[in-house]
Point group: none
Chain length 421, copies 2
């Protein structure tokens, strides 16, 4: 059995610590390392401070096989990474001829004048291997010691990514004998995390040591992620088999595998049936339409939406009867159904889905408190509606109501063997 | 001079380490801590591993005054944070009556059955102070020892934020004697970062040492954030004076100060004029309506939207002439104007705004490449349209087109002294 190759990712910069910028680099790096079979075990962010950087480098290099450092390499004064690296590896800064030629050429090509701080970017710790940065002037640096690797990269995302893809990842694959780490994601909707866990408890308990399960909940459902460690060809087959076993337990809730989102899965189901869709939205205010149209190619099956925030739009554009609005109120089963049927008819689509509710935080009544939502789906054979009782947060209610109505449509599409002609 | 109160933020979860989800929590927390005068000094992410968590807690609590831990508190098995906290503080898990009552009530309200793993969420380390999570079942925990504070919070962003805002930040302000760090944010739209920097260069150069400026660009414009350090009463006045000075240089681009978003600023302008709004969206697919309706109380001025993804909806519901659609194409000035006028008339609103374009990544032609977008605004006195040339990324184009059309409406509202009756 191969030993796990472990890694720490270190980011340097006050701007990340203070929350002035969002760190997207370490997510990307973590994902890339996992993909080639290196196990990210820790991430650390420190500021532009010599002692903090030194302590983090020492700790990481002591414990893990690979350390990836990003940031702290720009031409301005607050960047002290290179000096710290020199002290850490017991070496000194020297102008690297290849790096100097690169910086000089970089400025020449852009017709810009080069100043001393730019020239200093070619000064590198003597013992490192220079990695050329094709998109900028801050270099990459590769250190090897005691069978371990430390890499220092600029923090600008596209420069960092280019260096990782063309120098660092190939170098790591060459240096280490890596095991395969494979993932298999099962996407569910319409069931909460704890209920899901209960339904699949015996299956989960029987998973072997080298296959791990994670629950990843979001407003659009819970993803079950299986991670397998071992020989790629064997693991791939094994993950599939375990996924098939869990499929039997929860098949009604599964809408897809891998990277697919619910709006994409629905798009595929609609395309398979050569069916079209329109939406009538009150409390979700256009968010369902936004999710559907975030998918490239959605114009093939999505015709449009009527966001009916006022009752007048509900009656005049969607044809909801004024009697129903008065007798049952806008947040009611008859109105939800009439909206779905109305938009289906008006926009001439195969299916129409609707939402109407009290998104909050105000507007609730004792009978219809904040979070009361009706959703409906009208299709060629029938119209169904469901009542939801959500919470007090407007944003969350909009997210959840949109997920529920998409799931209602998915259920209707599942039961549709063939469209009546 | 006050001693700096330092903090470390620790996130727990394999999903962040492996790069399966993007960590936005620590940016938000870093920003909030900075705002109240606490200095974030380190961030660490560890996996769902007892020894890694224990080591990270020990290290952090040893070195910093405040430790904020997020994640690892869900009801499923991969969460071991609470047990580690018990061992770290030398205590044991006990069912907390208040926490149990909260979980029970949470399920009762939603009419959902409670299972054992839900009940276990009320088991807390005996020595901690329980912090109620109004939006979920995972509790917050506050530990104090040797004049230091450790807080453990759920990783779900909105639950974490609510706990921070209502329990943790007020608690930290009470516990520590914090220096004043004040912020003043000036929000601009319709001008890029580098052009803005050029316009305000002399003002920026004259800022005193204890007032710092940060440019925070997003798809909805650039925020200028001034940060002042010193005595609260003096700094507050000083920040205002500096903001007034920059106002003179860029007033056409400023839509607000502080926390206000562009959709909120527009809502206020519409309310001030007792005007109403509707939207006709093609390429933005409902996103403009979603943004407008994300504001609580928007039903007072927002009547609705027609998302016209197909040409048939453009002509039949919005009344765009079939001649225009054929002669100029759906992505054209006449169609953008007709859509804005059509939805204004149809939904009987004071203003109608529209978007039509090629969001991409496919669907472009040599005359109308991906990223070509027309936006329009129809009001009581006139209809105006603008052409945008955006990039190749669908998501980004939807975001940018929505920001541009909201800014076009803002400009029309600015010039409107009084509505014609």
């Amino acid at each position: 059995m191969l030993k796990n190759v472990t890694a720490e990712i270190i980011t340097i910069g006050d701007e990340i610590l203070f929350g002035h910028i969002l760190d997207t680099n370490t997510q990307w790096i973590g994902n890339e390392l996992t993909t080639i079979g290196i196990l990210p075990t820790r991430k650390t962010s420190v500021g532009d401070n010599y002692h903090e950087i030194m302590e983090a480098l020492t700790r990481a290099f002591d414990r893990y096989d690979v350390v990836i450092v990003t940031g702290g390499l720009g031409p301005t004064k607050d960047d002290i990474t290179k000096q710290t690296l020199c002290d850490f590896f017991g070496t000194e800064l020297v102008i690297h001829p290849e790096a100097l030629a690169h910086v000089t050429e970089f400025f020449r090509k852009r017709g810009r004048e080069m100043i001393e701080s730019n020239r200093q970017q070619a000064a590198l710790p003597k013992t490192c291997k220079y990695l050329v940065n094709h998109w900028g002037t801050a270099p990459g640096m590769w250190f090897e010691k005691d069978g371990k690797v430390l890499v220092s990269l600029p923090g600008v995302p596209f420069e960092m990514k280019e260096l990782m893809q063309h120098s660092v990842l190939p170098g790591l694959k060459e240096t280490f004998d890596l095991p395969a780490i494979l993932h298999y994601t099962i996407r569910t909707i319409g069931i909460g995390e704890s209920f899901l866990a209960e339904k699949i408890a015996s299956w989960e308990d029987s998973l072997p040591q080298h296959i791990r399960l994670a629950y990843l909940p979001s407003f659009s459902g819970v993803k079950l992620r299986l991670t397998g460690y071992g020989k790629a060809s064997l693991i791939e087959q094994e993950l599939k088999e375990w996924a098939e076993k869990v499929n039997e337990l929860i098949q009604d809730y599964i809408y897809g595998y891998g990277e697919i989102e619910i709006e994409e899965a629905i798009g595929q189901m609609l395309s398979d049936h050569q069916a079209t869709l329109s939406t009538a939205e009150s409390c979700t205010g256009g968010y369902v339409a936004h999710r559907l149209t975030s998918i490239s190619g959605s114009s093939a099956y999505f015709l449009g939406s009527v966001v009916s925030y006022s009752n007048e739009v509900k009656s005049e554009v969607l044809g909801v009867s004024e009697y129903d609005l008065r007798a049952y109120g806008a947040v009611s089963e008859p109105v939800a159904k009439a909206m779905a049927e109305g938009v289906r008819k008006r926009l001439k689509s195969t299916f129409g889905i609707s939402t109407t509710g009290v998104a909050g935080p105000s507007g609730g009544t004792p009978e219809k408190p904040v979070g009361t939502v009706w959703i409906a789906c009208a299709g060629p054979t029938r119209t169904v509606a469901r009542k939801l009782q959500l919470g007090n947060l407007r944003d969350v209610n909009i997210q959840l109501a949109s997920a529920h109505v998409l799931n209602l449509l998915r259920q209707e599409l599942m039961h549709l063997v063939q469209l009546p002609s």
